[in-house]
Amino acid sequence: MMKTKPFLIIQSALCILAAVLLISATVQVYIKGSARLAADPTESIYTKEEAVSAAAPGTAVMIIALCFAVIGRLKGIHDENADRPVKEIDFDKERQMAYRGGTVGLAQIIIFVAAIICIAAGIVNGSMMDVLIKAVKVCTECIGLG
């Protein structure tokens, strides 16, 4: 029988360690690369080899953490406290009791019609094309590659 608490603590430590190692690896590569770039503007801050070798310890710890997680799941280990009801939280009883839902009202019909009109107007005025353009020609900075 596995002890739940030590397992959870070890698992937490592994997760935090993996994140810390990966963050420090990124910062290290960035600092080193920035110095290289300052000396020679044709150089890159990141190189594949450097990134892979710097990320190796963090990745290894992350894999160990994931293996632990799988073992934990198979054994059914989890923080039982998380499933217990929270006591100190407010419950809006009146609104809960008043909340019925289930019917389609006038507001919903108006919004639906407005949505369809807006989409049609968007197709005509070119704003749908904006979406397509942005989705097929990606700006590097927008996805964090810059």
Partner: protein
């Protein structure tokens, strides 16, 4: 065997998890993209998927709603983004935050991370207060900053994507970087990647300890959909006749709800089985989609006199049929996007056409049979000093296929006529912030080396703005052309789906630099010096 069955019943995937996996796969049905490291460029990308799924993910076949909202905000100087207003209204009205609970791949990732067995941080008054942060993110990053850059500077800067979005980092950036075909992308990584990678790790770590941290405290899309909580057609509904107001649903919910179905509720339905009165169910209008599992075989009668047991049996039947339809849709999507889609084939053919004269398996052709392989010197004026026998291609050491294009100022740019000069070709677009930011550097370089340098900036074919007017407004004083419908110039220089890209040719017309990366004045000067040698 019995143990396995018990374990499966307890820990196996729920219907909701299956729907989450299904939608993640459907949104990313272009599996070929993961193999060849490119993104899908077909017309379905004009449609937004309801959940958070980066459109730069190699598999994405639709657009991200939040990225598209920002694109609409950024282009509000040109036209009102009616399309995105309509899409958000429609999705919000139909499903609201049920999308977060069932149809969001980022939500799925967060929930899987939370499955890692560690001590969990429970909700409290503090976490409830923190949920209002997402409205700040919505106001500042999605609207204020994006609008400021769009209106004041004429630049498309989707601030949330650029500074925060972990979906962009994990699906877009990591998805593209992890492919061996995109090794060149490492060259463009800098401060943005470093910052976003760290943010992604912190959010990921937070999700391990705190349920759906990103959804609860940061997600602007959840904030938008939350506005529809009272009117969304699909969602968790409470039967007031059954509810005894014990509050167990709210007290055991992992989200920071005040009552079931409020703007924080993601309609995951976990409260359904916890309700002692079986008062909660997931409904679409008056139709029940999911109800407490205890209720399925119950023989009690509802208001219309039909027994709950027969209703449950009918629901099971409909459920099975729905799963069949969904599976058929998924199979059709996978076949369409990976095998039949003409846009993918067109792109592959274009790439093949451009790289004629270059055989990837055996390297550059050497027989010189191809007409296009004739040295540039044959066509160009000038001495033989600048002749090149490099093969046609776009890689460093190769020579670009000749082309000519009419520029916006009416002049014609013919590549072969620039032999003897250093030539720089830049691929850009008005909707690409870094592209617009770096264009003045090319103008400065051209001014300082006017006699010895030719520059051409090629705008991507897709555009909804008047590029000529845009260029005049910004005062860019370099030759600028717009690529044709077949993206001929992008094809010749191996222009990718990511911008900006810069190609530098030496005096012989040989490529010495071809990278997707923002440039600095120092880098341009250095590249010029290298090319001019």
């Amino acid at each position: 065997m019995e143990n396995i069955a018990t374990w499966w019943n307890r820990y196996g995937p729920t219907k909701r998890r299956l729907i989450q996996l299904y939608s993640a796969l459907l949104y990313n049905a272009y599996l070929k993209g993961f193999v060849n490291g490119s993104i899908y460029t077909g017309s379905t990308k004009a449609l937004c998927v309801p959940g958070f799924n980066c459109y730069s993910c190699p598999g994405a076949v639709g657009a991200c709603p939040l990225g598209s909202v920002q694109a609409a905000v950024a282009s509000s100087g040109q036209h009102i983004g009616f399309y995105m207003i309509g899409i958000i209204l429609l999705y919000g009205l139909i499903a609201g935050r049920t999308i977060c609970g069932f149809l969001c791949p980022l939500g799925l990732i967060q929930e899987l991370l939370h499955k890692i067995p560690t001590p969990k941080l429970r909700k409290s008054r503090l976490t409830r207060a923190l949920t209002y942060l997402k409205y700040v993110f919505l106001a500042v990053f999605v609207f204020a900053i994006t609008l400021y850059y769009g209106l004041a500077k004429g630049m498309a800067v989707p601030a949330f994507c650029k500074y925060i979005c972990p979906a962009g980092t994990v699906e877009g950036a990591m998805g593209l970087l992890s492919n061996p075909n995109n090794e060149g992308y490492f060259g463009m990584l800098g401060i943005f990647f470093t910052r976003k990678f760290i943010i992604m790790l912190i959010i990921g770590l937070a999700c391990v300890f705190c349920y759906r941290s990103f959804c609860r405290f940061i997600c602007p899309l959840g904030a938008l959909y939350g506005l529809f909580s009272r009117i969304a057609i699909v969602g968790i509904k409470v039967d007031p006749l059954r509810c005894n107001g014990c509050g167990l649903c709210v007290k055991t919910c992992k989200m920071d709800v005040r009552y079931v179905g409020d703007h924080e509720c993601i309609h995951c339905g976990e409260c359904m089985d916890r309700c002692p009165k079986e008062a909660i169910s997931l409904k679409a209008g008056k139709y029940t989609l999911m109800c407490p599992s205890k209720n399925n075989g119950n023989d009690s009668h509802n208001d219309s006199g039909i027994s709950e047991g027969s209703l449950a049996a009918r629901r099971r039947k409909i459920g099975k049929a729905a799963w069949g339809v969904l599976l058929a849709v998924l199979c059709a999507a996978l076949v369409w996007y990976n095998v039949l889609d003409p846009s993918g084939k067109k792109k592959a053919n274009a790439a093949e056409e451009v790289s004629s004269g270059y055989n990837e398996a055996s390297g550059p052709k050497e027989d010189g049979a191809n007409e296009a392989e004739k040295p540039l010197g044959d066509e160009a004026e000038g001495s033989d000093t600048f002749e090149s026998d490099a093969p046609i291609g776009f890689e460093v050491g190769e020579r670009l296929e000749d082309f000519s294009v009419e520029c916006l100022d009416g002049s014609t740019f013919k590549l072969s006529e620039n032999r003897g000069k250093v030539t720089i070709i830049n691929l850009w677009a008005t909707y690409c912030g870094p592209c617009v930011a770096e264009l003045p550097y090319f103008g400065e370089l051209l001014k300082s080396h006017k006699e010895d340098l030719s520059i051409l900036a090629v705008h991507a074919h897709f555009t909804t703005v008047d590029v000529g007017e845009y260029v005049a407004q910004h005062g860019f004083d370099i030759p600028i052309a717009i690529d044709d419908e077949d993206e001929r110039i992008f094809g010749i220089v191996n222009g990718s789906s990511t911008l900006p890209q810069t190609i530098v040719l030496n005096r012989k017309g040989e490529v010495i630099y071809n990278e997707v990366r923002s440039v600095t004045p120092e880098l341009l000067e250095k590249l010029y010096e290298e090319a001019a040698k």
